[in-house]
């Protein structure tokens, strides 16, 4: 009996240790939608975003290579990367570093669906600004799936090209982030 209890305790401890290890993915997705009534083209996604989540501390991080955003229209992609918009030669990466601020309510080691508040710093176009958003987190069989949907003000990040001024690009684009950590 004692041996069984000891064995089960070790299994639980091993599970807890595994659950607390930092998890990473190289295939998170960030979608960007800046379409307006005048232009349906400024819309793209990046499917090779690097991301991490630390179940113990609640730390969350994302790294998106700007040139990896893919658009249906080649001209749109050219504009997006140009010096009048994201200037990807000068600022090749967008990053987010933050944490789950209500970690006591989000049990990353226990199966379930949670609503997390994520706060941190978003660096885009060389400008760093604080960002806070809610994210849906699902834990199932050790896999943590996260999804967040928010908008940013391009002007806050110094992004202001002629197309934005002309109303062809939404000044507050919608950003969707999704990641699955195994």
């Amino acid at each position: 009996m004692k041996k069984t209890i000891l064995f089960l305790s070790l299994v639980v401890m091993a599970g807890a240790t595994f659950a607390q290890k930092k998890k990473t993915t190289t295939s998170a997705t960030i979608s960007f939608d800046a379409t307006t009534k005048l232009d349906a083209l400024p819309k793209g996604d990046n499917k090779t975003v690097v991301a991490s989540i630390d179940p113990k501390s609640g730390a969350v991080a994302f790294e998106a290579q700007v040139k990896s955003f893919s658009f249906a229209n080649p001209k749109m992609q050219e504009h997006f990367n140009s010096s009048t918009w994201m200037d990807s030669d000068k600022f090749p990466t967008a990053t987010f570093k933050g944490k789950i601020s209500n970690l006591s309510e989000v049990k990353l080691g226990t199966d379930g669906a949670y609503t997390a508040t994520i706060t941190g710093d978003l660096t885009l176009h060389g400008v760093t600004k604080p960002l806070s958003t809610t994210a849906k987190i699902t834990v199932a069989g050790g896999v943590i799936t996260t999804a967040a949907d928010f908008s940013i003000k391009l002007a806050d990040y110094g992004v202001a090209g002629p197309a934005i001024g002309a109303g062809k690009v939404n000044t507050d684009p919608n950003i969707t982030v999704a990641a699955s950590f195994k």
């Binding site: 499917k47 090779t48 290579q65 040139k67 893919s70 090749p92």
Partner: protein, 154 residues
């Protein structure tokens, strides 16, 4: 009287014709630019054909030089698949240098997702895609090179 007016403003006719032609040309150009789409990568000629490990070594040796050479070019990369990353609507394929953790990753063009889903870890393949360039990942502490609009070379 009407005949006299016609003679007095012969330039008006040319302004109207030129304006009309200009307007039609502008509409055609705008339509062309708005409906422009990327070619199928499978039908696009590769600028370079490389082996995954040699390619990664070029970036690790001098990533600014390698970025100048390869970024936004169509590259065929030959190598062994070390990871498949399936998601709801997509799949990414990764070729990793297991000693350093650096890797090449491919996101696929919509019409080539089905053929990518047929591949398995360990398969030796050639994948052609648009190189987004290489950067160092602080999260992973490794160099990575990303591709978009990829296709499996048959």
């Amino acid at each position: 009287m009407a005949e006299a007016q016609k003679k007095r403003k012969p330039w008006l006719k040319w302004i109207l014709i030129t304006g009309g032609v200009g307007l039609i040309a502008a509409v055609v150009i705008i339509y062309y630019l708005f409906t422009l789409k990327y070619d199928d990568t499978a039908d696009t000629k590769s600028d370079y054909t490389v082996s995954a490990m040699d390619f990664l070594n070029e970036f690790k040796k001098n990533d600014s030089l390698a970025n100048k050479k390869y970024t936004e070019k169509i590259i065929t990369v030959r190598g062994r698949i070390t990871e498949l990353q399936p998601a709801d609507t997509t799949i990414n394929i990764q070729m990793t240098d297991t000693t350093s953790g650096s890797y090449v990753i491919f996101a696929f063009q919509q019409q080539h997702l089905a053929e990518a889903r047929q591949l398995k870890v360990g398969d030796s393949v050639a994948i052609k895609g648009s190189c987004s360039g290489g950067t160092y990942s602080e999260i992973l502490d490794a160099e990575k090179v990303e591709f978009k609009r990829s296709a499996v070379v048959k």
